[in-house]
Symmetry: C2
Subunit: 498 residues, 2 copies
């Protein structure tokens, strides 16, 4: 069918979308969401169909191109294109088979992952994929295949050394910024740790968002390798110029719609990112607590067990620890507030949050033992001495300066100017600080988009407060956002004093 | 948040959608697909959010209303509305629990069904529901609960008589129009059969589409009851003024995206429609064959078994038959062509397709036996005698006239004017007529939207043809659609002569 292009002048978002007049759609029995192949000269692409019922907006014989499609096809208003019905990609058949309870092999899995990355699957189709792996579960072989597919479809960083250390904390606990402590301690001890982190999708800050306050994190692969070769470590964003396992973000968004976590996919995605940087020794932290991603010890043990099995398949040394995730770690929630906490710890400043320091030291200690830099049981002591001696801070500076744009003076990190301090309504003990509530309030205040926005906790669980003493402060760059964050907190109430 | 309404002047389709400026969305941490509550005066409603990144289209402090939302809220451009974040409906939690493998009770199920009907669930959420019942399966209790919920959320027709007969053919076989044969035969024999049928969703004609050619099918409940009281039967559309189990159509569309059939949902939906009209004796036909909804004997037996179990719970008498669904039934495919076949059978015309007549007689015979109007083994004979005597035709006329607008002269049913006759390229035997291919070609030709469009088969499987003899004809109301239907058939080839 020959059609004349009309520029719709709207961004469709992720997908390539073409708008058809209702009557033209009927001619090919096309419905909303069906696929068509559009050709002009030797350029061709597949787009999803949307139907216009308003002939004044789009007449017979016209095809509306949303911005992305216009760019993809390099055409302009008035050009004539040819359109035919397109079949669903093979990956849809793979998803159906998985829904039916059959097992996907590596080729099937890779097809699906490639089409997720290429935005070739509709949200409904992607949801079926997520649902199928969640409801049907994934065998060890399937998780292995998914891990391999995720590695294959993302960037790979090869380093010519051994061992290569890495770590990962499973999410849901705000403020849990151990990476900027662990990396410099390990690197200072002579271990290689090419650490990549992600940005927030549903949280007030990802490690990459926090690090971004202190240094350039979006670097090329060459730059990353250069930094590691020079300093033993790096702390970069794994979803930018280097892009590890890019299918992940899309899957997370679909999971978030229903609030589920498909374990097989989580395991594959974590491991894929580590294997993509050639890691040989990995420490996994599973914080368990209300509002954390993992809410029960039982589930944590199951994940630990699965993780150890898959790590064995890939021949990597793994240690999995289960930690307390019942409240935020550190005091600041939001990129800049967290960055400040990190600097205080590195500087051995008295304002350093003890829980964050302890967790960083504990994890660094275990990794020093795994990497052969400390005897069993001696890692923590060694990590602490590297921190106290200032070697960790010096190494952090070296890495930050190598990556670019180092900002390491906490006094220069000034919180957003609009703030509201919540105070205790009575004397008592803090019994609960809700991870999800604090995250939500920090996001509404502007984090992670506004780096200086977020929540600063003045008390943690177990602390005693007098009436009118400050509990926490919300920071925001706009009075309106502050107001909304305030109202949202009033509504959900996630800071309990009894 | 106070916002000024802007009329977007686009229909969003099913959902209520509000468009927000990117910056306003950030203020409340709102993302594409999130829900907000919109209030003006004492009118309030929940809408889904879409985000505009183009401040020229939608400025700060503005909220774009798509047509449906504008109508729902009864506001106009320039009005000020209040908007707050809305929680997901409880049904989303129910769907999550089902995804997690837990069992849904009646209340949970009803919540989900109500929210499907009210368009309160996004496509992603609805997909999770369909996927969860498909992958986790449904227990007898769950299917029972879903059946009850579907009955409760649809219209109910109460009739003060016994027995009340009903029938259902599971789909996928084009031309399978037994209802217009079975209903008049039963009604003529003195049995009550308040038959409702559906329109096509993915096929070239639903029974209601075919009947619509011959009579009014969209009637009120009162009218339906009046017709049944007068004539013993009716043949009406169950998705119009009477609306039985309205959740069904939406579920079917989502299933269609992946090409799956969730058995529990299918059973519940069939049974709910029958119980909604107070049926006491039901005949279920499961055609099995390539391209039919049920492709294997094994699956058919499983469905038969499940059906019998659930029917027992609801205390209805059921007979399930498994029939040949390897090719279309009758000769015409498409509303008018099928209607003509039906009239030929009722008129004992020599042009009547034998297979359609035989199937109608067999089903009517079984129902006559179930309803006590014929001894076991004698039903078919009695059904045939009612057909041959002209009683069936007379009853059909009576019902059609009671419903309204009866058109019973086949000579007045004139096929669409554009046609293309496919002829045999060689001598041989017809070995396969593909259900899906024929359906697709008939749809592209214009069916069911264009009543006169479709496919007329001149040969069926097993027939011998000489070279150049006609195999089938495509009818269409436009030369373009005919061309596309022709090209589509050339591409998929579903009529094999060997």
């Amino acid at each position: 069918m020959k059609l004349v292009v009309k520029d719709i002048d709207i961004e469709a978002g992720r997908f390539l979308i073409a708008l058809l007049n209702q009557e033209d759609a009927r001619k090919l029995d096309l419905h909303h969401g069906d696929r068509v192949k559009i050709k002009k000269g030797n350029k061709e692409t597949v787009a999803f169909i949307d139907i216009s019922t308003n002939p004044e907006k789009l007449g017979l014989g016209e095809i509306g191109f949303f911005e992305e499609l216009l760019n993809e096809m390099k055409v302009k208003e008035g050009d004539v294109v040819d359109m035919v019905v397109a079949q669903k990609p093979q990956s849809v058949g793979c998803i159906r088979r998985k829904m039916e309870g059959r097992v996907l092999n590596y080729e099937d899995t890779k097809r699906v992952v490639e089409d997720i990355i290429g935005n070739k699957l509709s949200d409904v189709e992607l949801t079926y994929f997520v649902a199928s792996t969640y409801a049907r579960g994934m065998s060890l072989e399937e998780i292995t295949a998914l891990t391999r597919a995720m590695i294959e479809t993302g960037d790979k960083v090869e380093l010519d050394t051994h061992p290569i250390m890495d770590k990962h904390c499973i999410g849901g606990v705000p403020g849990n910024r151990t990476t900027p402590l662990v990396v410099p301690i390990l690197a200072a001890a002579g271990l290689t740790i090419p650490k990549t982190s992600s940005r927030a999708i549903t949280s007030p800050s990802g490690t990459a968002d926090t690090l971004e306050v202190l240094m350039t994190t979006n670097v090329t692969k060459d730059k990353m390798i250069k930094v590691v070769n020079k300093t033993n470590g790096c702390m970069v964003w794994g979803g930018g110029m280097i892009n590890l396992s890019p299918a992940d973000d899309r899957i997370v968004v679909i999971e978030h719609s229903l609030g589920i976590d498909a374990e097989g996919q989580m395991l594959a995605s974590i491991l894929a990112k580590k294997l993509s940087v050639s890691a040989t020794d990995i420490l996994i932290d599973i914080p368990v607590g209300r509002g954390a991603k993992v809410e029960s010890k039982e589930k944590a043990l199951h994940i630990k067990n699965s993780f150890e099995k898959i790590a064995k398949v890939f021949n990597v040394k793994t240690k999995v620890i289960i930690t307390d995730g019942n409240q935020p770690i550190g005091n600041g929630i939001g990129p800049m507030l967290e960055a400040k906490d990190v600097l205080y710890v590195l500087m051995n400043d008295k304002r350093a949050p003890k829980d964050l320091e302890e967790k960083g030291i504990a994890m660094a200690g275990l990794l020093l033992e795994m990497g052969g830099k400390a005897a069993k049981g001696e890692g923590k002591k060694k990590a602490l001495s590297i921190l106290r001696s200032g070697e960790a801070l010096a190494k952090f500076k070296e890495i930050a300066q190598s990556q670019g744009k180092a900002e390491l003076d906490p006094e220069k990190l000034v919180e957003a100017e609009f703030k509201y301090e919540f105070r205790a309504e009575r004397e008592g003990k803090v019994t609960r600080i809700d991870n999800k509530a604090i995250s939500r309030v920090a996001r509404i205040a502007g984090a992670p988009h506004n780096k200086k926005a977020g929540v600063m906790l003045h008390r943690k669980v177990g602390d005693v407060v007098l009436k009118n003493q400050p509990l926490f402060t919300i920071y925001s760059e706009s009075a309106t956002k502050l107001q909304y964050a305030y109202e949202e907190f009033e509504r959900i109430d996630g800071f309990v004093v009894n």
